[in-house]
């Protein structure tokens, strides 16, 4: 009787220039939730890709065993057949199909030797699968209408359709609200009872401490720590993850708050396709030099819409903006940058970086004026010098500035985006979920950066769905709900409960 259902022994995977996994060994038992944690760049994604067949047998060194027998997965499909289910980090569902079709996409004829889709059987089988795992979805539902949380459940159901002995969840809670996270945990616990081994990969320390039975820490491609639930020690785990003592998660700030530098009056943004509805309405607030203003609220409250409208990406229906007391007309992003605003968005892939470009070029694009002669000819030495300053200031971890950004970890990519924003020398920096999907070590560095910005006199507006982060970093809070401002709180008055109370406020239509 094997104690361990999954064994990964001396897994080593090399790429040109880097050893992503260096003799990693860990073993997971039946019916346990095994946590895998590590900074971005520690080798988690690579290890998962080895386990789920994306890097097939032959492209890595080491042995994978299931129930004591070695397996040699040749492809993701193969890994699935061998009993390893995988739920990737990015939510990737087929929006034009139903829930049932998504789940059984690779098996629509339900195993029978037929070219026809067995719809009746499909819906029945799906209903059974969903009920067994207590996932609340309708097999016939149009996936387009599902919320992000429901789509995540769909991805899990899809992996469960293969009846896996081992289920790997890669950062499953990144886009989920707290309620959805609870639902996810319930499903995971049910699976645990059924005897499935669950490998749970996440950055969020709180989750891993709550949900997992055992925990393995990766750093720089190696396995540096193995803890049992009884031994869980937050500080030790963080120390193992980053290889140094992280004494303070949220560094102290010494900023002098000065005069008002940014004011917004009655900002209103039209809904793009629903008539007579506003995405945000009547938003009025101001920010002072050296101040960090937090924009709190639930997902969908309109926070991102406020900053994208201010930055000139979305059109404003109404509203005035004042920089240093003077009214400015921002109709495009270049206007916004000209008037000293910067926006670091939450979606790095879409809005952040030009992935075929190097770090250098990505940073310099926001201020070509500074590095070009006669505003036309780009000076390579000037460009390099200037970008180097930001490269060092932000402590971007990469072989050089000419490294292509698509090879960087999430945290470092975020730093490049910040670098690009800072390059334009803004007076007002708006950050939308600046630490989303970023590991602990990099988070702390970003907090430090925010502090440095404030200390240098920049006005910072910060949006974050992680309440502890927001509470720790901000001097003042604006809470939004349903597109309007629900209330304003100073640091002294703000508590988690008060913020939440405002965030769930509903406005009666007059």
């Amino acid at each position: 009787m094997q104690e361990f259902i999954l064994e990964a022994i001396d897994i080593t995977k090399k790429f040109p220039g880097v050893v992503a996994n260096d003799n990693i060994t860990f073993k997971a038992k039946k019916g346990e939730v095994f946590g895998l944690i590590g900074e971005n760049g520690a080798g988690k994604s690579t290890l998962l890709k080895v386990l789920n067949g994306i890097y097939p047998h032959g492209t890595y060194d080491g042995v994978i065993k299931i129930q004591g027998k070695e397996i040699k997965p040749a492809s993701p499909n193969d890994a699935m057949r061998l009993g390893i289910g995988f739920v990737p980090q990015e939510i990737n569902v087929l929006k034009n199909l139903s829930v049932a079709e998504n789940i059984y996409m690779s098996n629509l004829n339900l195993g029978k030797n037929s070219k026809l889709v067995n719809y009746n059987g499909l819906y029945i089988r799906t209903q059974k699968l969903l009920e067994e795992n207590h996932i609340d979805l309708d097999p016939r539902a149009d996936v387009r209408k599902l919320s992000i949380g429901q789509q995540q459940m769909l991805m899990i159901a899809r992996a469960l359709a293969g009846d896996p002995k081992i289920l790997i969840l890669d950062e499953p809670t990144t886009s989920l609200s707290n309620k959805d996270v609870e639902r996810l945990f319930t499903v995971v616990r049910r699976l645990k009872e059924k005897g499935t081994c669950i490998i749970f990969v996440t950055h969020k320390l709180a989750e891993i401490l709550e949900l997992t039975d055992r925990l393995c820490i990766l750093r720089d491609g190696k396995n540096v720590g193995l803890y049992d639930k009884g031994e869980y020690d937050k500080d030790k785990i963080i120390a193992d993850m980053i290889g140094r003592q992280l004494t303070v998660m949220y560094p102290a700030r010494n900023a002098v708050i000065g005069e008002e530098v940014f004011k917004v009056e009655n900002l209103t943004v039209d809904h793009p396709y629903i008539m007579n509805k506003n995405l945000v309405e009547d938003i009025t607030f101001s920010v002072r030099k050296g101040e960090v203003l937090g924009l709190a609220g639930l997902v969908g409250a309109g926070r991102s819409e406020v900053v994208t409208a201010l930055f000139g990406v979305m059109k404003r229906k109404a509203g005035k903006v004042y920089v240093n007391g003077k009214e400015v007309n921002v109709r495009s992003t270049s206007d916004a940058i000209k008037h000293g605003m910067a926006l670091v968005t939450e979606d790095r892939k879409k809005y952040g970086l030009i992935f075929i470009w190097s770090i250098l070029k990505n940073i310099s694009i926001s201020n070509l004026k500074m590095i070009s002669k006669l505003k036309l000819f780009v000076s390579k030495p000037e460009e390099t010098k200037r970008a180097m300053e930001y490269f060092n200031y932000l402590k971007i971890k990469a072989p050089s500035m000419n490294t292509k950004v698509d090879t960087l970890s999430g945290g470092n990519q975020q730093k490049v985006v910040i670098g690009r924003s800072l390059n334009a020398q803004p007076m007002i920096v708006m950050l939308d979920e600046p630490t989303k999907g970023i590991d602990v070590g990099s988070k702390s560095e970003i907090y430090q950066l925010i502090n440095q910005l404030a200390e240098s006199g920049v006005a910072v507006i910060m949006i974050s769905s992680e309440l502890p982060e927001l509470m720790a970093m901000c001097d003042r809070f604006i809470v939004m709900a349903e597109g309007k401002i629900a209330g304003e709180l100073s640091k002294e008055n703000a508590t988690d409960a008060k913020v939440m109370e405002l965030a769930v406020k509903t406005f009666k239509n007059v």
Partner: protein
């Protein structure tokens, strides 16, 4: 304690460097080009390796070469211009009317052609960049528009005869048996290569083609860049319309048929990524040259002219494969 990223090199430095050079757009076109020349040179030395033949190949590149520069800028900005060939034809007719029917001087006639071409480009830009219509369908529509105008304004017949000094200009051989038109193309290639590589304009075009949302966030006016690229492409079409008319001693009602596809082929072969965001104008020039050399080699080797298209298709597939390999290698060679 420092938190350094330890990178163990598993490849000797040289190999990365060599494969990087081999996969630059310019070299990837140069190699098949040289192979073709060497093979044909050996097998048909008399026909291929003589000044007349080589310079006539180079002269032929002037037209599609210049036109492709316009296409390349649009493609680099992330769009495509299917109307460029018809635009050149239409602008050629305007030039013909100006020079023949309205008796205008060369300067004005050429300017009118460039304005006509630029106007079509302006319309393309307005619809695609400002309005947001799909580039493929929109430029297809303007292509039909141009063809229609070309036939209508010319009354279905060539606008000729052009005053002699135009054909004299086209026939003149100032240097090495090469034409003025060829040198105009070379000049444009050099200028645009410099623009792409060293100017803020070039940087902005590539940013917009690379990731237009990211470019927007970086403060670039994406709409203006794309609009400008289309206008530029239109003006290039105007220039080529004039070039054709000079070469043929008349503006033809069917000039430029299929030219747009040759420009797109040249872009693909010459390393201007059809996904947008990157490209070398020098590579583009070599791509145009490769196609002309190929046609000539096949002729010298007495291959039926019908096979030309087959060979072009094969080379195009090869170019796409090389592009994929290039992207994969560069992703690994950090």
């Amino acid at each position: 304690m420092q938190n350094e990223v330890k990178i163990q090199s598993t490849l000797p430095r040289n190999r990365g460097f060599v494969s990087k050079i081999l996969l630059t757009p310019e070299v990837s076109v140069l190699i098949p080009l040289l192979i073709l020349c060497v093979i044909t040179g050996i097998l048909q030395t008399r026909k291929f390796v003589n000044l007349n033949n080589i310079t006539s190949i180079l002269r032929y590149t002037a037209f599609i070469g210049t036109l492709s520069i316009g296409q390349a800028m649009v493609v680099m900005s992330g769009e495509i211009d299917l109307s460029i060939g018809a635009n050149a034809g239409f602008s050629g007719i305007i030039f013909g009317l100006a020079a023949v029917k309205w008796g205008l001087d060369p300067f004005t006639s050429i300017l009118l052609a460039m304005i006509a071409g630029g106007l079509i480009g302006f319309i393309n830009g307005y619809l695609v960049a400002k309005f947001g219509l799909v580039n493929f369908i929109t430029t297809l529509a303007t292509m039909f528009l141009c063809r229609g105008l070309q036939v209508t304004f010319s009354n279905g017949a060539p606008v000729s005869p052009l005053p002699e000094y135009y054909s004299d200009f086209a026939v003149a051989r100032p240097l090495f048996n090469l034409s003025w038109l060829f040198f105009i193309m070379i000049g444009l290639i050099i200028i645009m290569e410099l623009v792409v590589r060293f100017t803020t304009i070039g940087r902005k075009v590539q940013a917009v083609g690379g990731n237009k949302e990211a470019a927007l966030m970086g403060g670039i006016n994406v709409m203006k860049v794309k609009w400008g690229a289309y206008i530029f492409s239109g003006v290039m079409a105007g220039i080529v319309g004039v070039m054709w008319a000079c070469e043929m001693a008349g503006a033809f009602q069917d000039a430029g048929m299929g030219a747009e596809f040759r420009t797109i082929t040249a872009c693909a072969i010459g390393g201007v990524s059809l996904a947008g965001g990157s490209g070398s104008i020098l590579g583009l020039g070599l791509g145009v040259l490769l196609i002309e050399v190929l046609k000539n080699c096949l002729q010298c080797l007495s291959v039926e002219s019908n096979w030309q298209l087959v060979f072009i298709g094969v080379i195009l597939i090869g170019a796409v494969l090389v592009d994929i390999v290039r992207k994969n290698v560069s992703a690994r060679n950090v």
